[in-house]
Symmetry: C2
Subunit: 775 residues, 2 copies
């Protein structure tokens, strides 16, 4: 272990210039604070792309009933910091994590966090955004109450802290094993701390949060030996404490167990006023965490920060963007946020914990977890398939398949993190993720095993009314909640199975699932023009109000206004049921143009970013603006996109209108800013909207480059006049994946008035509408 002298780098100096500079390096224009306020639920801390450690400040502890706003641990609106924990979700609505909270401090040890409204009431410290700075892979802040400057960076499995204390002050550090995002007190089932030497402490905890029985192990290494330490178990009442082990009180015990452990370390007065701490996490064991520390062998903060920055620039350079500064920041920040998950969840020896909560050995792939699939199958995974190396995508798919193999239910993940299933949201949306990747030529996984896992998931009767869905052709509302949403999402997932099976030559499976894919029709009420749930006896549920969205309703975080557009694989069917293009256009206009009292959705935290009934802050709406292309009115798509981009995304902390949802909101932005969007993953089609960037170069995994240029782009010129691909006019209002991966240039000529002729003919519409169906 080499303890290098730290460079003289005061936080105040670093953070004095908060203004983002334009730079050749993408990471320099990312504003990691976008989404950390308002409803975005992103965090500003330090992580690598898809990193296992996501090290970030936490500003508030809440009981789970009040936890929604603090799902990422940090809120830009807050003015005090609790400490810095090592695991976070980026943009979720529900939450968990916040593992292993470290808080450097000076002066008296306070064992409780205290209250944000009362300074010095606990170990919490006030901070100011004036003395805070963050960029991809780096976060810095001054803890005003403790006069400690904190800097954070991370490798994949290790968080690195550097603290700078006041002159002549004892360097102290508190580790609060209780601290959790989402439920402070009852979530911790058990924890332990083990002092292995005066520079190495390990521990673990088991929690019953979003994922029940989740185990996290860690190893914490100090750059200097501590001189004193104390560990307390702060449980209110313990029925049976067991026999006291060796150690004079809590100050000498080398292993302490309990539900509420807090440790305080005193490093004396360091000559250089500084202390560094490495924290590695592991899902397997403390030994695993210790081994993971090897990933960061030196004590060179600057070098680690540089490596993290380099990793981000490599990842972000998959896309070269030319645009006005504000737009460039929003686009690169969107790309940044699209690389927070799925995140690595495997020790350096390849061991990981799967959905059976047992330890497994990865063979030939890197296990990733945090699959927020209901959100991310829509645009995030298609984006990653486009811009991430094939190996990374194959890791994702292999992780899904490996999870299915050891899943107690024998099905693919629904909403998985740290290897464990949460059963959050609906659908079997790992299916379109795999199918889309397969159909786009991602290799490196066993397609046979994948298809088998997909079919198993689609036929697991006990899950989400699937038994009834298979019997009735829809999920009956009297047998299962959220029946309408489930039916239409299952039907789409089924279509992607059919598509993949067809390509693999498994025509029996393809036929069966193409048929299931039409089930959305069974819940479409042609009289009202809405998706509605039926009862088992075939009758629609009454009374019916298309604006109703409740827990216990027929829709998942949505209303009939929002869900009636969900047959992305068969918009021709939609048009037919609505009575033609004009009716479809009129109805979708109604969605956007409705005068909606926002109160009707106010009880649903996730329904936000309203434009009429359109809720951009939540996923069911995400494809809707692009549907005009299917109806022959792409200029209306162009118009709506401008409306959405203007109102829903801003380069400021509260700049996201809804939860970023592990990058789905950001992936929507990225695609839309490029100029197209994958309405139906599995179709290999991208529906053309309009670009918001002057020039986008997709530096593709295959080494080719696909450039999108927007000629005459300006605030006034929001309509597409014409499109050409590699110099030839493009009449279709979509492009295919192959057209992109072959490389080339897509040129949009922008103008201030709609060109109602371009892309409006029936043969200009996506193939999805006519080809990929069973008749």
């Amino acid at each position: 272990m080499l303890c290098l002298a730290l460079p003289q780098m005061g936080i105040a100096a670093v953070s004095s210039n908060l203004e983002t500079k334009l730079s050749a390096k993408p990471s320099a224009v990312v504003n990691v604070f976008i989404g950390t306020g308002g409803d975005g639920h992103t965090f500003p801390g330090a992580t690598r792309p898809f990193g296992m450690v996501q090290l970030s400040p936490d500003t508030q502890l809440r009981h789970f009933k009040q936890s929604y706003p603090w799902a990422a641990g940090y809120r830009y609106e807050d003015d005090s910091i609790l400490g810095f924990s090592h695991t976070h979700f980026s943009g979720t609505g529900h939450s968990d994590l916040g593992d292993v909270l470290l808080m450097p401090y000076s002066g008296e040890t306070k064992w409780e966090p205290g209250y944000p409204e009362r300074a010095f009431s606990g170990y919490r410290s006030r901070f100011s955004h004036q003395q805070e700075k963050a960029e991809p892979g780096y976060y810095a802040v001054k803890l005003l109450d403790h006069e400690v400057d904190v800097e954070l960076t991370a490798s994949e499995r290790v968080g690195l802290h550097r603290y700078h204390y006041g002159k002549g002050v004892e360097a102290k550090l508190l580790v609060d094993m209780r601290s959790s995002i989402y439920d402070y007190k009852s979530k911790n089932l058990w924890s332990s701390l083990r002092v292995r030497s005066n520079t190495l402490v390990t521990g673990m905890r088991i929690t019953r949060g979003w994922a029940p029985g989740r185990q996290v192990y860690f190893a914490m290494q100090f750059s200097k030996p501590f001189q004193q330490r104390e560990i307390q178990n702060r449980e209110d009442a313990i029925e049976y404490r067991g026999f006291a082990g060796p150690g004079s009180g809590a100050k000498e015990k080398v292993k302490v167990e309990g539900k509420a452990l807090v440790a305080a370390f005193n490093f004396g007065i360091p000559n250089d006023q500084s202390l560094m701490v490495k924290v590695a996490i592991s899902a397997v064991s403390e030994e695993g965490a210790i081994a993971n520390l090897q990933e960061m062998s030196d004590w060179d903060f600057a070098a680690e920060r540089q490596k993290a920055s380099d990793a981000w620039n490599t990842a972000l350079s998959a896309v070269s963007i030319e645009a006005a500064p504000d737009m460039r920041t929003k686009a690169y920040t969107a790309l940044y946020h699209s690389m927070m998950g799925p995140s690595l969840f495997m020790d350096i020896d390849g061991r990981y914990r799967g959905p059976d909560n047992e330890v497994h050995q990865a063979q030939g792939f890197r296990f990733h977890s945090t699959f927020s699939l209901w959100d991310t199958y829509r645009a995030l995974h298609p984006l990653l398939t486009l811009i991430q190396p094939t190996a990374r995508n194959a890791d994702f798919i292999q992780s899904l398949i490996a999870s299915q193999k050891v899943s107690p239910e024998g099905i693919l993940p629904v909403w998985q993190f740290h290897g464990l299933e949460t059963w959050c949201m609906i659908g079997y949306h790992a299916v379109p993720v795999i199918a889309d990747a397969y159909l786009k030529g991602v290799t490196g996984f066993d397609a046979e095993a994948a298809l088998k896992a997909m079919v198993s998931s689609a036929e697991y009767g006990a899950y989400g009314g699937l038994r009834h869905y298979m019997q009735y052709g829809y999920v009956p509302t009297d047998l299962e909640p959220e029946a309408a949403s489930k039916t239409v999402e299952y039907a789409f997932d089924d279509w992607t199975i059919a598509r993949m099976a067809e390509k693999m030559g498994k025509l029996d499976i393809a036929k069966k699932f193409y048929a299931r894919a039409q089930n959305y029709r069974n819940v479409f009420d042609v009289n009202t023009g809405f998706i509605r749930a039926r009862k088992a006896n075939g009758e629609f549920r009454v009374p019916f109000d298309p604006a109703v969205s409740n827990f216990g309703s027929d829709y998942t975080e949505g209303s009939a206004w929002q869900y009636s557009w969900y047959m992305p694989h068969d918009n021709a069917g939609l048009i037919q049921m609505l009575g033609g293009d004009s009716a479809a256009i009129a109805k979708i206009d109604q969605v956007f143009d409705a005068k909606v009292d926002e109160k009707i959705y106010a009880h649903m935290e996730d329904i936000s970013g309203l434009i009429g009934h359109y809720a951009h802050g939540n996923e069911p709406s995400h494809h809707v603006a692009y549907l005009y292309n299917y109806f022959g009115a792409p200029w209306k798509t162009q118009q709506r996109l401008q409306q959405i981009m203007d109102s829903q995304y801003h380069a400021k902390p509260d700049g996201l209108s809804g939860n970023d949802d592990l990058g789905q909101m950001s992936a929507w932005f990225a695609f839309t800013s490029f100029g197209f969007y994958p309405v139906a993953p599995g179709s290999n089609e991208y529906i053309l909207g309009r670009p918001f960037l002057d020039k986008t170069s997709l530096n593709l995994p295959n080494g080719k480059r696909f450039v999108i240029r927007a000629e005459n782009l300006s605030k006034a010129n929001q309509y597409v006049g014409s499109v050409s691909l590699n110099g030839k006019p493009l009449e279709k209002n979509f492009i295919t994946h192959t057209q992109i991966t072959e490389g080339g240039e897509l040129l949009f000529k922008m103008q201030s008035t709609p060109n109602k002729n371009w892309g409006s003919q029936s043969n200009a519409r996506p193939y999805t509408q006519t080809k990929y169906r069973v008749d």
Copy 2:
């Protein structure tokens, strides 16, 4: 899986003849009910020698403050059974375990155990000793309220249940994951159940009992598929339940987690009215438990029962006993109870969980745990060293060394079970266990590593006042509780380190620890003739009452009357301090002959079996009766032994006067019945008492035989007239380990009057008194 038709074996028929028959097979004369009533705390269930699964009925659930009498789960005095769980301690005072409780039943499902005083108030059932039978490796009982006949047997890692239900009745089974010996409600931190098929269920739980954070995994296999099942989480209040997983309510979920899981299975009406269940346990994982099931591949109850019986007969045949039936039963039962621990604690692939609560791989040995060392270093381990194969002893020693290597404190186990340290009792008594085995020639372990581990344990300052002991030469009472007991026990342990180091040629270590071994003198008050605690300033603590025994006193489960004899390695020193042989004899007579109001010890549950101040029910007294030999009065030892054997051991359920303590009480009986006792383990000496068996043949691990014969043995002839070894008169009042292992015959001629000449000369006394000291 082969489901054989079961033989028609009704319990009523089997148990109709409870009378033990004399037989050539030792197992047939064992009465496993000895100690299951009164203070014995043994259990009557089925296990193999040193088996990992110890499957036994539990009769009561208690909060820990009331749990002492139910430390083994079962009390003979009870008349209802809760179910059958797979882990038990044999004879402890404190407790834990009772993992994975199964209860077969018929009729309505009751989810709570109900009350013993109210029939049918829960799933508990009444039973009668008239319809109960048990023998080594087998237990059978009729559950009267359910009309189910239960039979149990076990392999090393698998318990096998066979249930016989009433005619035309549905076969049902309840699994209560809450059920625990010692604290029913708050001990369970977490548990899970996973239904892998309709014949295989796995699960785990984590508890905070005696060993904090203990994890137990299990796999349960049914001989027939269940037709229905339901799993409930019976927690009173759950702050956050998480999202519901697939499954219609609890009846279809394949994985359920919670703190209070109970599962009910219905197997329909079996043609043969029967059901068999295998339950394997593992400390590593559910996969480990499933693999452990391989140990018992068939469904042949009779064959498994026979294998268990054979295993016991092989183990018990280490000693061939001729004696009157009652005495033969007591002696073989004592041997039986001496093989309950240390017990196997390792999966079939060699993985186990160590004191760091992490998983390790055993290399070249079988990991055993359940080391009740404060009790068992005295006579149990010396007995096992004498009669168990060397390989088994090497396993014990290697398990201790392996534990030290991964111990967070870097020390040998103190009171360990399931791999985990409990910090119960005092001393570092793994040290004499290892030294005694080494000095007696047990091989198969790394002596260098062992000595290093022993020294580390003896020098770990944070443990039990060792820092002060090393500084002051005694444990000061003002700095550490139980200071007097700690000082004298540490001094003895130190002596065994010196002995082993000396034999290994490590003379520096030997010298150092021979010096430490004299520390007992520092707490001997020559004015009162008692061991008394001193304060750090050197003064004895006042006031002093030699009969006082309290938590917080200077003695561990004892008084000065009991503890003042604890320098077994230097009784010459004791004689000197007391003022000569006569004074020593007079003082020890006082111990036995005192008129003691039993109330003065009544507050200490463990101090039982009183004869004056002598408390045979607890370990500090165990060597005391043999001390007369050191004082030149072996005939008094003979007299006291008769007094103890008559009053403290009976062939009936309440036949043990104190907790069997994992076999220590039984090992005392075994040695004493043979005719000698290891007063000072590490000395290789056995002090001659008098035999209580007509003939004992020790069939030694080296293939030789050592026979002890008692000529003219009768109730009246309780004194030794003369002793001869291999036909030559033996004048010494002890024999050495080598004399035994060379094989031969030790002949005691018994008579009705004391022979005060035999063994009374100073050169007849143990070498310990003169040789093994530093001067």
